[in-house]
Amino acid sequence: MIKARPLSFSSHFGSIVRSYIFLIIAFNFINGKDIVSESIIPDLKVKLLNGSTTTLHKLSQDGPLLIDFWATWCVPCKKVMKYLNQYHEEYANDNFKVLMINTDTPRSLGKVRGFIKSQNYSFNVGMDPNKVLSKKLNGMIMPTLILVDKGGVIKWRHQGYVAGEEVEIEEQIKQVLGKSINEKNKG
């Protein structure tokens, strides 16, 4: 039998304080306004959908690389995918690439290639069914975008997608490419 009880934070005050301290400690590791560390992305191996294997450094050695973690059941991931494919094709001459790392489990792994083919997407698709890459790059929340420059330095991170955020994504890509924000419109 559930008894009536007023909503109270006091009983959990101690745990909130501890949680807060915990977070403060975590943030103390980080310098700068944003907590994105401009460190070089680790040279992790990636198995691509076509069966070949590459590494993150190889993919970013010619130009910037945008990594996105996704799954076939993730609706926001599918929404942003359309724009990421558009940027992958639009900035291909600047050696910009998009790597979509799929995290589907065996439950839906067999459907990944069919989905990509059905949408005619041309970006690179990596496979991470065991979430090895997503754990190492902290991409457990989907979609998570990580933008690295030509040298492999992480320049920008973003979690989630709501409509309209594709504008900021493109701005970040242009910044990394050293392009003017309005260059596309002028062109």
Binding site: A4, A26, K33, S39, P42, R107, G114, K136, R157
Partner: protein, 658 residues
């Protein structure tokens, strides 16, 4: 219950701080994530869960530490310690891992390890992993221990745990589009029973897989064979004698044509069998490392998630087809799945069951094989100059949940008892003289009628029909408006069929539906849903959400979840909160004429919540939720969890990655 080890925590955390400082000082690459969540509700669903993940990268060495402070967590044990750690050395040919290891081979028929905190399932191994790569071959070895906890009767605190001491090996041949692998796994398990001391079992699995990917099609096949033996004598058994033997087979063939892709899947898992649900007391079957494809649609709709089928990795076969394509920039997806057990079950009496293996490769539609059908179609895309995103789905499913009785046989009735006498003639010779005697012995003999057919079937069945709709309209100013609507009709009933109603143990016979005409059959459905006015034939569920977002800044979502009827035991919303009163425009609440703990009847089957999410920076996000959330079934990766209701509560979550 695990204790909070404060002193140990101080040491570990101090070590963590020092090592982290060294990392920064030496400019070693690192990345991390913080996930903190806090919840407090009227019905004691309170939690405080904080996780810090830190990854280190230095030349060929990589490390990972996960620190948890949870008191208590959403699900699991109170923890204040380093939860997970791993150190890796990666060279050109070698890979060495030490610590908490998660491996995935083939499609998981032998080994698929993951840590799913939502369902509290973690089948990782703490130990050593070695991999040697010599193209096109690779050799892998995994060795260590796993302590796997599972939920029992409680919704939040795990009660059962199985301990494994395991080793696994794999040889993989990976040449361009062709891959071939052989796997082997052996584990000594200390298996917990529902009551009594645990049992020691040895499991040995041998598996192989092959895959090929072409331009227009690809194929994947995997087979696993498993033998389980008792490690020691138990219940008078023979040590090392085979306890159970089983196998699993999975195939996936995809065909691509233009911008259309057809996915076909087939599975047949047969590691153990029972007419009902297998419990912890049935051991020696599929082990926790085996996490295989389920062959069903992985839904992102809340209402479809609630009617998810509970898959059996021990005994299930099935097929699934999914067609994905696009027409006029609209994505189209059509899916169909049919699953069933591998055998049909007959009840010889109420408690005595026998089975017969289904004599083909396809799933059965016989109710005693617990079939499940699912069909989901979806269309999504952009319209109105790419400003409106839409997604419309249509899902139906039907399943036999329980096979409670399936008797088809004969019986005879007692027509009379023969009480007549028989004459027995006896003779005896005595002293040359014969004596004759005649005795009358009463005869008590049962006289039966001719045999007649008896059929008595009882099963539980459920079916649902769901339409999820999502619309998002983007404004030029960076704002967007979203509306979500999910409608569901659901039936759940007990079906009784045949010419006999039940078995009468007193008379040791089936009770016929019509005692005057045994050939007369009947069929009844008893619904499992009810309202305050009595039984309800259908349950209607409606989930409406409205959201307003500012790109890259914030989003506000209000969700209204309503149901028309309840299953027995399902809890109603016991607390009437101001958000609900505001949504319903209930003036009485605000002028003090309603009590929070005495919800109006029309509000007891509705749950309202509001969530505000704010992006502090592009990699930091905080969200606050207030209101009530209906509990129910949540399934992920083939593992289902009953989530308790969260009534009149606050949830705060913070996550950051760096």
């Amino acid at each position: 219950m695990r204790k909070i080890r404060d002193r140990a925590t101080c040491y570990t955390f101090g070590t963590f701080l020092i090592s982290s400082s060294i990392i920064i000082a030496n400019d070693i690459g690192f990345s991390g994530a913080v996930n903190a969540s806090y919840g407090n509700s009227y019905d004691f669903y309170n939690f405080s869960e904080n996780l810090l993940d830190l990854n280190f990268f230095y030349n060929d060495v990589q490390g990972w530490v996960q620190y948890e402070y949870s008191n208590p967590p959403d699900i699991g044990f109170t923890t204040n310690d380093i939860r997970k750690f791993r150190l890796e050395y990666v060279a050109d040919d070698f890979l060495i891992k030490l610590g908490d290891i998660y491996q995935f081979w083939g499609r998981g028929l032998v080994l698929n390890q993951f840590d799913d905190q939502v369902t509290h399932f973690d089948n990782g191994t703490r130990g050593l992993y070695l991999e040697y790569n010599k193209y096109p071959f690779s050799f892998s070895h995994l060795n260590g221990n796993s302590d796997i906890w599972m939920l029992g009767g409680g919704a939040r605190i795990p009660e059962n745990n199985n301990i494994h001491n395991m080793s696994a090996n794999r040889i993989n041949y990976d040449f361009s589009t062709l891959a071939l692998g052989f796997t082997q796994l052996e584990t000594n398990e200390k298996h917990s029973l529902n009551s009594g001391p645990p049992v020691d079992i040895n499991h040995n699995i041998l598996g192989s897989y092959i895959s090929w990917a072409g331009n227009f099609s690809d194929i994947f096949l995997e087979y696993a064979d498993k033998v389980s033996t008792m490690s020691v004598s138990n219940f008078g058994g023979i040590p090392n004698d085979t306890l159970k033997r089983g196998y699993g087979y999975y195939q996936n063939i995809n065909i691509y044509l233009g911008n259309w892709g057809l996915t076909t899947e087939y599975k047949r898992y047969s590691f153990d069998r029972l007419y009902g649900d297998l419990t912890a007391n049935e051991y020696g079957n599929k082990i926790e490392y085996q996490q295989m494809p389920t062959l069903a649609k992985e839904h992102n709709s809340t209402l479809l998630g609630r009617v998810s089928h509970t898959y059996s990795f021990n005994d299930e076969r099935g097929i699934q087809f999914e067609l994905n394509g696009s027409i006029m920039n609209m994505a189209i997806s059509m899916q169909y799945a049919h699953l069933s057990r591998n055998e049909k079950w007959r009840s010889n009496s109420e408690n005595d069951w026998s089975h017969s293996i289904i004599d083909n490769y396809l799933p059965s539609s016989d109710f005693s094989a617990l079939p499940y059908w699912e069909n989901y179609n979806e269309i999504s895309g952009y319209t109105l100059n790419e400003r409106l995103y839409f997604k419309i789905g249509h899902g139906i499913n039907r399943e036999i949940i329980k096979n409670l009785r399936n008797f088809v046989g004969y019986q005879r009735d007692l027509s009379s008892i023969d009480t007549s006498y028989i004459e027995v003639y006896d003779s005896l010779e005595w002293d040359g003289t014969w004596y004759f005697d005649t005795t009358f012995i009463p005869l008590y003999d049962s006289i039966f009628t001719n045999e007649y057919n008896v059929e008595s079937k009882l099963w539980q069945e459920a079916e649902s029909f769901t339409i999820p709709v999502e619309l998002n309209y983007f404004l030029k100013s960076g704002y967007s408006i979203g509306i979500g609507y999910q409608y569901q009709e659901r039936k759940k009933f007990n079906r009784l069929k045949g010419n006999a109603t039940n078995y009468d143990y007193g008379k040791s016979k089936w009770t016929m539906y019509n005692p005057d005409d045994y050939s007369q059959t009947f069929s009844t459905k008893t619904t499992q849903f009810a309202t305050e006015n009595g039984p309800a034939h259908k349950q209607f569920n409606r989930l409406i959400s409205f959201s307003l977002s500012k790109a890259s800044k914030w989003s506000l979502t209000i969700t209204h979840d309503a149901t028309s009827a309840f299953e027995s035991g399902q809890l109603k919303d016991p607390y009437y909160n101001p958000l609900e009163a505001l949504i319903y425009g209930d003036i009485k609440y605000f002028i003090g004429k309603r009590k929070n703990t005495n919800s109006p009847k029309w509000a007891q089957n509705r749950w309202v919540s509001a969530e505000f999410a704010y992006n502090i920076t592009s990699s930091q996000r905080v969200s606050i939720m207030y209101g009530s959330i209906q509990g129910g079934l949540f399934c992920s990766n083939g593992i289902c969890r009953i989530i308790p209701p969260f009534n009149d509560g606050v949830k705060v979550s913070y996550n950051a990655s760096f």
